[in-house]
Amino acid sequence: MFKLFEREALSVEEFSKEQTSVDVRHLCVSLNAKKVLNDISIRIPKNKITALIGQSGCGKTTLLNSFNRMNEFISTHEISGEVWIDNRNIYDKRERVSRLRSQIGMVFQRPNPFPMSIYDNVSFGLRIQGEKRRRFLDDSVEKALRNAALWDEVRDRLFESALTLSGGQQQRLMIARALALEPKVLLLDEPTSALDPLTTLYIEELMVALKQQCTLIIVTHNMQQAARVSDYAAFIHKGELIEYSDSDSLFTMPNKQQTEDYITGRYG
């Protein structure tokens, strides 16, 4: 077999401890007494975009939610296994969940701005952390909005309601809201599924730019998107991790038949 492109990506088995951002070890999750994830082990690299793909209900959102323990908020749950972020197991008893969530940003499928001004939306997380210094807040808001490529559009109306923004702007505002806390990991749950193609492209560019600052984990149903933006991709089926490798190989020459079937659209 000859190589078309020189592959710069490391193989998923070769991450060193420093290069790993999220280390999932034998994670099993049951929601409402139904087994959703079964013995998932996956190491997600730092400052890369990792895509989680799979059909609806396969458990990829649950996996995403288990990185900031949102599953506990949503429903009755049962979790075993470990998720290591920053050399600590976030499922440890001593872990403070709200602090953990403030360190791991999350963007949802549909933009969910609070009914407040743009400024208040972006500074919400910081204010929750008890930050009161006006100057610091101003700077953080501006920085977050710049990082989310929204600053130029909203700089003149920071104190207008966030609900006046368009859908794409709102989604970028959500990214800015998460970025304001300077998270190490940014979780994106189908962030563009409710947006038009052009806005989607915008968000994708933004994601690539954000790689410098944090690890991005994205759940998506859009194969092209996953292939376009992600460095690594994991295919999950019925709660099992079927295949996990760098995106180039996963999308061009998958190892498993199931993966190939899925990405070529034969089922799912």
């Binding site: 949102m70 999350m106 949802f108 549909r110 609070f114 998460a178």
Partner: protein
């Protein structure tokens, strides 16, 4: 062939028609129902408005002449003297004030007589009603309304036949009254205090100090009495319809005028004056005249205290039930119970308030804190606080249910958004959920206020009375007297409707109070709705 075809089309047309009829039947029925509701609503407002508004209109004075025809066999009005003539006519004159026209008044009186005389063999008297333009209407300071012919003004022994002097006499009386109050405040009060101090020190009555003080007191007292007598000597004499001459002290006269000769400006003045009196004065003459200020005040105060109590309680209970309570059978049961609490008859709450708040709670407060005043109760009697608490319990389910609905309307993705940003559950609720649910909470409070303002049955049991001599807030320490009984518009109307049915004037006062109650409730609702809409605009544009 043709006939068959036509039959077919005919049939299908008929089917169409039936279909169309079915379609439009529902629409027409729905429209009719809606129209009926509209008519009923407009009818209620128009009826109450007209009946209540009439109270403020000036009345006309009429002279009613009743002519009794007595046959010879009958006694004349029980005097015992038999009359031998074939028939004798006896006239009886009555002065009256009415909003009706002369003809209407005559027919209504005729109606009454008809009912009265159907069972009797006596001949029915004839009635003549004529406008009596020369009559004067006098409203006294105690709220009485007198109608009669002006006879004279009296100033001691001086008698004048003209009414023009009245203004002069009134100012004279006012001056004398000023004098009197000066004496009472500046002299008599201090002297009285001095004497009672001496009494307290047990100074003997024959000491010179006591004697001189007493003498001085007596002197001023005599002077004051003299002035009172002087004031009493200014009189106005009028002849009433019974022929009796009535002498009325001028300081008792609030206003005097000829009702049939008011100019349009005077009428407007009369109406405005009546409205002001109605809103700002207290009821007089056993709630047949005067105003309803204490009732407005009591209603508003009760509703405000109730809202202060019920809003946080209801909102907190709803937050627990909706946000914190585990989703199990007990919670469901509690939710169902809360919704059913709204259906409990209000009088049951009243009995509960009387039995628990007044007797148990108030009784124990009295025995703990006010034991020196027992057996006369302080909090152990119906009062404003207990009424507000009872109404609070009565309206609690309304607030809880409305708040729950408000909380339900907050999208769950906003909660998860806040949680994902590191907010705890408490922070999420306080900073995101509650502001968005505030229109729902306000809806509950609006409904609660409207219900409490219009409720009567429980209030009668726990503190609302038909006449309260004092307001619950006054200048006396501690200024807010929650233990006092209070007046309430609904109770006032109830009382008026049941106990004063005979007099048209009073039923008008009742209707006027009804109109006012409607206005008060509408005003409260309107302001709350405006506030709610403002909040909705702010928080619910999603």
């Amino acid at each position: 062939m043709i006939s068959k075809f036509s039959l077919l089309t005919n049939k299908s047309v008929r089917g169409d028609y039936a279909q169309q009829f079915k379609q439009s039947l529902l629409e027409v029925l729905a429209m009719l129902a809606c129209a009926t509701i509209l008519i009923v609503l407009v009818g209620i407002f128009a009826f109450i408005g007209v009946q209540g508004g009439r109270y403020f209109m000036p009345m006309s004075a009429y002279q009613i002449t009743t002519v009794h025809t007595l046959s010879h066999a009958q006694d004349v009005q029980g005097t015992g003297t038999s009359v031998s003539d074939r028939s004798v006519q006896k006239e009886q004159i009555q002065y009256t004030l009415s909003h009706l026209s002369a003809a209407e008044l005559a027919s209504s009186l005729q109606q009454k007589l008809l009912i009265q005389y159907t069972a009797q063999t006596q001949e029915m008297p004839k009635i003549r009603v004529s406008a009596a333009d020369s009559l004067y209407q006098i409203n006294t300071t105690s709220g009485q309304t007198l109608v009669g012919k002006f006879v004279s003004l009296q100033e001691g022994s001086k008698v004048s036949q003209s009414l023009a002097n009245l203004v002069v006499l009134q100012s004279e009386v006012a001056r004398l009254q000023q004098n009197l109050s000066d004496i009472q405040i500046q002299r008599l009060q201090s002297l009285h205090r001095a004497i009672s101090e001496l009494d307290n020190k047990q100074v003997a009555r024959d000491t010179p100090l006591y004697q001189t003080t007493l003498a001085e007191f007596m002197l001023w007292q005599a002077y004051a009495n003299n002035i009172i007598e002087q004031i009493g000597s200014y009189k106005i004499n009028i002849r009433l319809d019974s022929g009796e001459l009535l002498s009325l002290a001028i300081n008792k006269v609030q206003d005097i005028y000829q009702p049939n000769q008011l100019s349009s400006w005077q009428s407007i003045g009369y109406i405005l004056n009546k409205i002001v009196v109605f809103i700002s004065d207290s009821p007089k003459q056993a709630s047949t005249s005067g105003g309803v200020f204490p009732a407005i005040f009591g209603t508003l105060l009760m509703v405000i205290i109730m809202a202060i109590i019920v809003t946080p309680f209801g909102a907190l209970a709803a937050i627990y039930l909706h946000e914190y309570a585990p989703d199990n059978r007990l919670t469901t049961t509690i939710r169902i119970c809360v919704s059913n609490m709204a259906a409990v008859p209000s009088v049951v709450y009243g009995v509960f308030g009387l039995g628990f708040f007044v007797y148990v709670l108030g009784g124990s407060i009295d025995s703990l804190l006010y034991s020196d005043k027992l057996p006369s109760p302080t909090f152990g009697a119906p009062g404003l606080l207990w009424a507000s608490l009872t109404m609070g319990i009565l309206t609690l389910p309304v607030v809880i249910v409305a708040t729950q609905e408000g909380l339900n309307r907050v999208p769950s993705n906003l909660r998860s958004g806040a949680i994902a940003l590191g907010a705890t559950k408490y922070e999420t609720i306080v900073k995101v959920v509650l502001p968005m649910a505030s229109p729902g909470i306000l809806t509950g409070v609006i409904l609660a206020i409207a219900r409490a303002a219009g409720e009567v049955a429980p209030l009668i049991l726990v503190g609302a009375v038909k006449f309260a001599p004092t307001l619950p807030i006054d200048g006396e320490f501690p200024f807010v007297h929650l233990e006092r009984q209070f007046m309430h518009l609904g109770v006032f109307i109830y009382d008026g409707a049941f106990h004063n049915q005979t007099e048209s004037q009073v039923s008008s006062l009742m209707f006027a109070s009804c109109m006012l109650l409607l206005l008060v409730v509408l005003l409260l609702n309107l302001s709350a709705i405006l506030l709610r809409n403002k909040l909705r605009n702010k928080y619910e544009r999603l």
